[in-house]
């Protein structure tokens, strides 16, 4: 090895690539820079300029937009003097009523629970980590945020809404609702949160769980 091996007490900036497990030294990064694994090309770290405040502001905005997206109509339909409209929870509910319970739960999870959970966990994590040291339960929250994130499918949903809109437009007059624009805004906000947020910043500020064990709290 070209540098001292990682020591038990101070692992420093030596990391293993999460995708290929190669041990390597992670250099100090300039703001805006990113480090890639030389073996498999995976992005190991990127240094954001404001790793807490910017994602916090974006997450707060996402929370407001999320509520709008889930309470206002996605689209409305007018045919032979009748009017109908649907919301995101309304869509999942109608699937449930029609007997497709499992599909309804999957839709509710990917469209409401996962994005909502991601916003909630991120908001709590960022608020708690604003003043270091961050309490150790922040680690648990960040782990939850990580695991719901792949299931939060705003961008797939907005395309699904558009396809449904165009399909139905063949049969009746449809007009997009506020909810649809809100889902579009959520896609942008979620992408921005993921770009500006750097989980390493949280890990730097966190109180280690073995400190908690040793001091007997």
């Amino acid at each position: 090895m070209g540098q001292p091996g990682p020591a038990m007490s101070d692992p420093g900036e030596i990391v293993a690539c999460p995708e290929c497990d190669l041990l390597q030294h992670l250099p100090e990064l300039e703001p805006g820079a990113r480090a890639r694994c030389p073996r498999c090309g995976n992005t190991l770290a990127s240094q954001a300029r404001e790793p807490i405040d910017v994602p916090l502001a974006l997450t707060l905005a996402a929370a407001v937009v999320f509520i709008i997206a889930n309470t206002t109509p996605l689209m409305g339909l007018s045919a032979v003097g009748r009017h109908a409209s649907t919301t995101i929870p309304g869509g999942a509910l109608e699937m449930w009523r029609q007997g497709e319970m499992i599909t309804a739960v999957i839709v509710a999870f990917c469209a409401i629970i996962a994005p909502g959970g991601y916003i909630l966990f991120m908001l709590t994590t960022l608020l708690a980590a604003k003043r270091p040291p961050a309490p150790h339960w922040v680690g648990e929250l960040l782990r939850w945020a990580d695991s719901v994130q792949p299931w939060s499918m705003n961008e797939v949903m907005i395309l699904g809404i558009l396809v449904a809109l165009i399909k139905i437009a063949e049969l009746a007059t449809v007009e997009p609702g506020i909810g649809m624009y809100a889902v579009g805004a959520l896609v942008v906000l979620f992408t921005a949160i993921m770009i500006t947020f750097d989980p390493r910043e949280i890990w730097k500020r966190i109180e280690w769980t073995d400190d908690v064990v040793e001091t007997g709290r």
């Binding site: 699937m95 150790h136 165009i166 009746a172 890990w203």
Partner: protein
């Protein structure tokens, strides 16, 4: 960046999947918990190959009814029409929106099939101890992870179509049994991609080095 030619596992370390802290495992089979974040440490995901194969096979089985059974039943003044996924694509194509037909075709038919083929190829190559094109295989894995969610497209299309078109007795749309199988394919392949451990692709290199 300076890099060694050793993986963390070869050097006797385990990297936390949550916070990336390197730790020395308590013992090989039970590495314990991360000292920083408290996450469960695993050198490689538990039974990665077996779990991934099981999920891939289950998804492949669901893929057949997902494509044969109708996903939507449209009732217009007493007569009912059934549409499969491909039927929906054909409908979009004939009504003139071929770009949308193409998107739905790719997301609903080609992506799930491609994922099943890609994951099977990754599993077989890891099991045979391949050391060829590791970088490309890692890239393929990353692509499977990123693109998989887009297959949920048709489930959302069907949900919102059903939710909006409830104009009894003139016209109503009901979900067909295909939707459940289709959603199952997407969920199963997503969990399969998550249970596959890409570090296994690179472990064969180390094995060859020790053998030779």
């Amino acid at each position: 960046m300076t890099a060694t030619s050793l993986s963390a596992a070869e050097a006797g370390f385990v990297s936390c999947e949550t916070c990336a802290l390197l730790s020395r495992p308590v013992d090989g089979s039970e590495p314990g918990h991360c000292r920083r974040c408290g996450g469960k440490l695993e050198s490689r995901r538990h039974h990665s190959i077996q779990y991934t194969w099981a999920l891939v096979v289950a998804a492949a089985i669901c893929y057949i009814p997902a494509n044969i059974l109708p996903v939507l039943n449209t009732t217009t003044l007493g007569s009912t029409d059934s549409d499969t996924i491909m039927g929906g694509v054909a409908l979009l194509y004939t009504t003139g929106s071929w770009p949308l037909a193409l998107i739905v075709l790719i997301a609903s038919v080609m992506v799930p099939l491609g994922k099943l083929i890609a994951l099977s190829y990754l599993l077989i190559s890891v099991q045979r101890g391949s050391i060829q094109s590791n970088r490309d295989r890692t890239r393929l894995y990353r692509l499977v992870e990123i693109i998989g969610r887009w297959s949920m497209l048709d489930v959302f299309v069907d949900t919102f179509t059903v939710a909006l078109i409830q104009l009894q007795p003139l016209m109503s749309v009901e979900p067909g049994p295909g939707v459940l199988f289709f959603a199952a394919v997407v969920v199963l392949t997503m969990i399969a991609a998550e249970s596959f451990d890409p570090r296994l692709i690179w472990d064969s290199n180390a094995m060859r080095r020790f053998d030779g």
